[in-house]
């Protein structure tokens, strides 16, 4: 049995205790809602996209340390980035979570930075859904704001 220290790295707890980009954005920002049917967690991602760039992002909702910190780190990583780069990052992240990727090749060279700390989640398969909740919701938001 892997120890919780693999899960609750300091950087993760830091983002949990002090979430970045927490809040909401008014319309026309796109709001997408996601939830984890297993634990009842829910999350809302607010995206302000213009000219193919994520100009601003915020999140709200309730969740465990993993889903909250993962989302917090995600917002830091994507803010100001071109949508295509964001998509590549999502693929890279889901690849780290060893989830199959139907939507394109993974660019292993993309740096995850702090997000790397979430790698330990893989040893706790039940928590993978927590870690990916924000990312999947982001993906939905990207799709709907492009369609």
């Amino acid at each position: 049995m892997p120890g919780v220290e693999d899960l609750y790295r300091e950087i993760i707890l830091d983002h949990y205790r002090t979430p970045r980009n927490r809040g909401e954005l008014p319309p026309p920002a796109v709001c997408t809602e996601g939830n984890n049917p297993l634990c009842g967690d829910d999350i809302r991602i607010f995206l302000d996209i213009a000219d193919g760039v994520v100009r601003d992002v915020k999140f709200s909702g309730q969740g465990c340390s993993i889903s909250q910190s993962s989302t917090s780190m995600m917002t830091v990583a994507i803010k100001g980035k071109p949508v295509e780069e964001v998509r590549a990052l999502v693929r890279r992240f889901k690849h780290m979570m060893t989830l199959s990727d139907d939507e394109g090749a993974v660019d292993e060279s993309i740096k995850l930075g702090d997000i790397e700390a979430l790698g330990g989640v893989v040893k706790f398969p039940v928590r993978i859904k927590c870690a990916t909740l924000g990312w999947n919701t982001l993906l939905e938001g990207l799709n709907s704001s492009q369609g």
Binding site: V4, Y8, L38, C39, G40
Partner: protein, 413 residues
């Protein structure tokens, strides 16, 4: 420790349950998720293994001895279950795959035949999804109206407006015990209230049959259901009980082998009860395992099980409150006589998922989530709770282990 001054010897009973006495990484297992699904005693595992090694055969359809004996064991289990809940006859016992199928069977077969647009079905705010979604499906399909009995601030059903809610109702379907709050409902009284307005009384007994004596006739219920896997029996089998006249009048639910007396190209005739509702090959080994679970529970005595759990409740409530005071919020009644030993709680602001993960470090198994009761969660103002549930094999040592593990959770958060 437990044993000496409790109603049953939980220390001894533990020894019958291999998972309960197991350890991981040298630390003993503290299984506190029996409201979800219970562990299995050796007697049940052995009955299933012996059947599969020595007597496995089809039932009902073949004349050779191996099959005849399997049939007797299968039907013998039906008789045991009938007696266990004091059904009038074993014809009233239908084996399903789980309690959820039983509730759907009622909604599909009785519901579609007897309910029409605008008819009222009354539920309560503390129902499990299994006693909500089948009715919402009927609502979508034929437009029945759902009404909800609310809760009081001390986690009881608020019966003050029950007669208004029931006015004109066709069905009152409620749980005998909340799987989240632990609240035990006054089943007899609620059945009587349903009958007073001519409504059917359906009792979701998933959380009470494993934990206390059951007498469906004394209840005055019309239907009840429960799952083998929560009462020391195997997964894969549930029980529907219904009054014979009701079951008799209902159309079949699933069609296929065993549930027919005649099939022609132009139509079929149903078999008699209970075969009418048991289409296809049933969970043969599992029903026999459930029979062994009933024997096991009878050997201990359901009244003793109940008494043990009242004692466990007292201990848990006193202990957690004494130790953690306001840092713990228990969503449920304070009086051990009015509740089962199932405790949902919030602790020091730690998310239940994280809590459950950290408790797991010392093999303390508690469930975290919405417990398949999302409407109730919303009403008690939580997205999720942690839940520790105790059964006949849990001791005060388990309660202590829970408290110790909780205390150390703050080391991380």
């Amino acid at each position: 420790m437990a044993g000496a001054n409790t109603s049953l010897d939980a220390e001894k009973i533990r020894q019958d349950f291999p998972v309960v006495t197991s350890s991981i990484n040298g630390k003993p297992m503290v299984y506190l998720d029996s409201a979800n699904t219970s562990q299995k005693p050796v007697a049940v595992i052995d009955a299933m293994t012996a059947f599969m090694r020595e007597g496995y055969a089809p039932i009902n359809r073949s004349a050779y001895s191996l099959a005849a004996e399997a049939t007797e064991k299968y039907e013998g289990a039906r008789t045991k279950v009938a007696k266990f809940i004091n059904a009038k006859s074993s014809r009233e016992i239908v084996f399903t795959k789980n309690a959820t199928e039983a509730l759907n069977l009622i909604a599909y077969s009785w519901g579609r035949t007897n309910l029409k647009r605008g008819d009222v079905v009354v539920l309560t705010h503390m129902e499990h999804h299994a006693n909500i979604v089948p009715w919402q499906m009927l609502q979508q399909e034929i437009g029945i109206e759902l009404r909800w009995v609310p809760l009081t601030s001390d986690f009881q059903l608020d019966l003050s407006s029950l007669s208004n809610l029931l006015a004109g109702a066709k069905v009152f379907s409620f749980t005998s015990m909340s799987n989240v709050l632990g609240t035990i409902n006054p089943v007899e009284k609620l059945c009587a209230a349903a009958h007073a307005v001519g409504a059917l009384a359906i009792v979701d007994a998933c959380q009470s049959v494993p934990h206390a004596p059951t007498d469906v006739q004394a209840w005055g219920a019309d239907f009840t259901m429960f799952s083998s896997h929560k009462m020391c029996g195997p997964s894969g089998v549930g029980v529907l009980w219904g009054r014979e006249a009701l079951l008799e009048a209902m159309p079949p639910f699933l069609g296929g082998g065993n549930m027919i007396s005649e099939v022609r190209l132009d139509g079929f005739k149903c078999a008699e009860l209970p075969a009418k509702f048991e289409a296809g090959t049933p969970p043969i080994t599992e029903v026999i395992g459930l029979g062994a679970a009933v024997d096991y529970l009878n050997g201990i005595g359901m009244a003793n099980v109940r008494r043990h759990e009242v004692e466990m409740s007292s201990y848990v409530l006193e202990n957690l409150t004494a130790r953690f005071g306001d840092e713990i919020t228990i969503h449920g009644p304070r009086n051990p006589e009015l509740r089962g030993a199932t405790f949902s709680f919030a602790f020091r602001g730690i998310h239940p998922h994280d809590l459950s993960q950290i408790l797991d470090q010392t093999n303390v198994c508690v469930r975290a989530g919405h417990h398949c009761a999302k409407p109730l969660m919303k009403i008690i103002g939580a997205n999720a709770t942690a839940r520790a549930s105790f059964y006949l094999y849990n001791t005060k040592a388990d309660a202590d282990a829970l408290a110790n593990a909780l205390d150390s959770a703050s080391d991380i958060f």
